[in-house]
């Protein structure tokens, strides 16, 4: 096992080797029902409450294809610049696993619905074209909970409990061609690809593609070859790398690990590996005693899918703006720099801002909150900004309250904090925490009078034309009102009282 300590540095690894990547992304479609049966797909139901004879693999039950899932697959394929098969079939991938009730997965094998496309991604101002090998339809498995043992993980458990609600939810598996020539940017390109794919899936409206909920899952394959060598090296497959940041880290770690092994004269084993979020390393999966043999064959319970060209063209007409084009448009609309736009993209906040603007906020205010307070909170919690428990509409409401003068920035931050803490909508937080700006001019007047009386020196300077000490008076007022006053209004009133305005 390679420990982090004796890993070769990233720079050294790249001075001898070229990385070659392959990314396999599974997207859970947001259809109302499962791939082959009419069971609901809604997240979070009671265990085994969204099952039927078909998805439970009961004897005699049969599958029927979900038309909307096929439509989504075609739209994804088109958005990825793929060819859409004129005729394709489902196949059975046979292997025994308790999460999979039929002990085969209904998938596609040598006849995927979409093939041979590409997706352009931008890294450091440069565009990379990632080739798409195929996008195919398949079904998700059930979920097991491992009971007993020390860790609650699969190894060492006493037994497992199975819930098949997720079993049969439509998946689209998107496989890239080998990504070559990425060099030191490989980890960033991998991350940018997954991010771009996620944005595309969301823009298509076929899935929310929330990685933290497992709606989008990534397997990252990596191999190294010495500079100048044509032939690919042996690859490792790191399974379930389920955040953008993890994709980047996993690729980086594997580059270093492979380079270390190869430089030490070792050989890379073709194996699956597990990524560990905590320290960014990967470890080997169980070694298989013998090569898996999935015994694929055409699914005899389903008939071929042969999308008519008319249907395909009709679906092409429904494609949304490509995310990269859309970003350029938004950047122009918001009037911000490349750097600022890139920060928004990196923070994964573009859609949230669009939605916040749609909910009535100015784009400046929306950007300010998502990139400031909320990005900070997300960072502290170690989640994507969009995973925070606050909606764009709620952020827009906070912005509206600030604009109306009912909140100042400091109070607004507290309101956001309250919403994130689950205390309710912005208005409920304002109410419960008593965070209204003090706008009662009487109460404010008294506080101002008090401050003026207490700071004669400052008053004298101000009246002599030196406005510097106004801040001290404002500070005193804010202190008295426990921050609940609108600072701009306080300043106005002080200057008015002192006859300076």
């Amino acid at each position: 096992m390679t420990s982090t300590a004796n890993l070769m540095s990233y720079e050294d690894a790249l001075s001898s080797f070229d990385p070659v990547m392959g990314l396999e992304v599974h997207v859970e479609l947001g259809t109302a029902t499962k791939m082959f049966c009419g069971c609901a797909t809604e997240f979070g139901g009671e265990p085994n409450s969204q099952v039927c004879p078909t998805c439970l693999g009961l004897p005699g039950a049969l599958p029927v294809v979900n038309r909307t899932a096929v439509e989504s697959a075609i739209r994804i394929g088109l958005a990825l610049n793929c060819n859409i098969a004129e005729w394709c079939r489902f196949a059975r991938k046979n292997y025994f696993y308790p999460d999979m009730p039929k002990n085969f997965q209904t998938s596609q094998y040598d006849e995927p619905i979409a093939f041979d496309g590409y997706l352009d991604v931008e890294v450091q101002g440069k565009t990379y074209r990632v080739g798409i090998e195929r996008a195919h339809m398949e079904e998700d498995t059930g979920k097991s909970t491992h009971v007993g043992g020390a860790t609650g993980r699969i190894h060492g458990a006493d037994y497992s409990l199975l819930d098949y609600n997720r079993c049969g939810i439509p998946l689209i598996e998107i496989v890239t061609k080998p990504i070559e020539g990425a060099g030191e940017l490989a980890p960033e390109i991998a991350k940018a690809y997954v991010a771009e794919l996620r944005d595309l899936i969301k823009a298509l409206g076929v899935s929310e593609a929330r990685m933290e909920l497992g709606q989008m899952r990534c397997d990252a394959n990596l191999s190294l070859r010495p500079h100048g060598q044509e032939k690919f090296g042996t690859r490792s497959e790191t399974k379930n790398v389920n955040s953008l940041r993890s994709v980047e880290r996993a690729i980086r770690f594997e580059i270093q690990r492979h380079a270390t092994v190869l430089t030490d004269g070792g050989t890379i084993v073709q194996e699956t590996r597990h990524f560990h979020e905590d320290d960014g390393t990967t470890t080997a999966g169980r070694v298989k005693e013998e090569a898996e043999d999935y015994r694929y064959f055409p699914e005899p319970d389903l008939v071929p899918v042969a999308p008519s060209r008319d249907w395909v063209e009709e679906l092409r007409g429904t494609l949304p703006e490509v995310p990269s084009v859309r970003r350029k448009r938004l950047q122009a609309e918001w009037g911000i720099s490349d750097f600022d736009m890139q920060s928004l993209v990196n923070a994964g906040a573009v859609d949230a801002i669009v939605d916040t603007v749609a909910a009535g906020a100015d784009s400046d205010a929306a950007r300010k909150w998502w990139l400031g307070e909320l990005a900070r909170s997300a960072n502290e919690r170690g989640v994507e900004v969009t995973a925070l428990p606050i909606t764009p509409a709620q952020v827009a409401r906070v912005a509206a309250l600030v604009k109306a003068g009912e909140l100042n920035d400091k109070l607004a931050r507290q309101v956001i904090e309250g919403v994130l803490a689950g205390e309710g909508d912005p208005d409920q937080v304002v109410e419960k925490r008593g965070l209204k700006v003090v706008s009662d001019e009487g109460a404010l007047g008294a506080a101002i009078d008090q401050a003026i009386a207490a700071q004669a020196d400052a008053v004298a300077k101000i009246q002599a034309g030196n406005l510097g000490p106004v801040g001290a008076l404002i500070g005193a007022v804010m202190k008295t009102t426990r921050g609940q006053a609108d600072a701009a209004r306080v300043r106005e009133l002080i200057l008015e009282k002192l006859g300076v305005s």
Binding site: E46, P47, V65, N66, P298
Partner: protein
């Protein structure tokens, strides 16, 4: 056509999740060898230009609308379970990995 070996039969048994006894393995190896020898004749007639038939009917595009249909209650789903706990199927510990 080459005969099937006892090792191959053992490998097939593992792939098929059948814990065959030694005697059964021997017996099956002999029988499978006979059967495979007989069915290998399919190689005699079917030329490259013959398309395979996987379905007896030339149907395509059988799809259903994306509409929820009532399924089973959890009680019905679990009614045949050899063991259940917390409204889930209870199964022995799982060694392998999802693929």
């Amino acid at each position: 056509m080459p005969g099937i070996t006892r090792e191959e039969v053992a490998h097939l048994a593992r792939l098929s999740r059948l814990e065959l006894g030694a005697e059964e393995l021997d017996h099956l190896a002999t029988q499978l060898d006979d059967i495979i020898g007989a069915v290998a004749r399919v190689g005699e007639v079917a030329a490259d230009d013959i398309p395979p038939t996987s379905h007896p009917l030339p149907l395509t595009n059988v799809m259903r609308p994306d509409e929820i249909r009532p399924g089973l209650t959890p009680e019905q789903a679990l009614s045949g379970a050899p063991a259940a706990e917390d409204q889930r199927f209870r199964v022995p510990r799982i060694l392998g990995e999802e693929q």
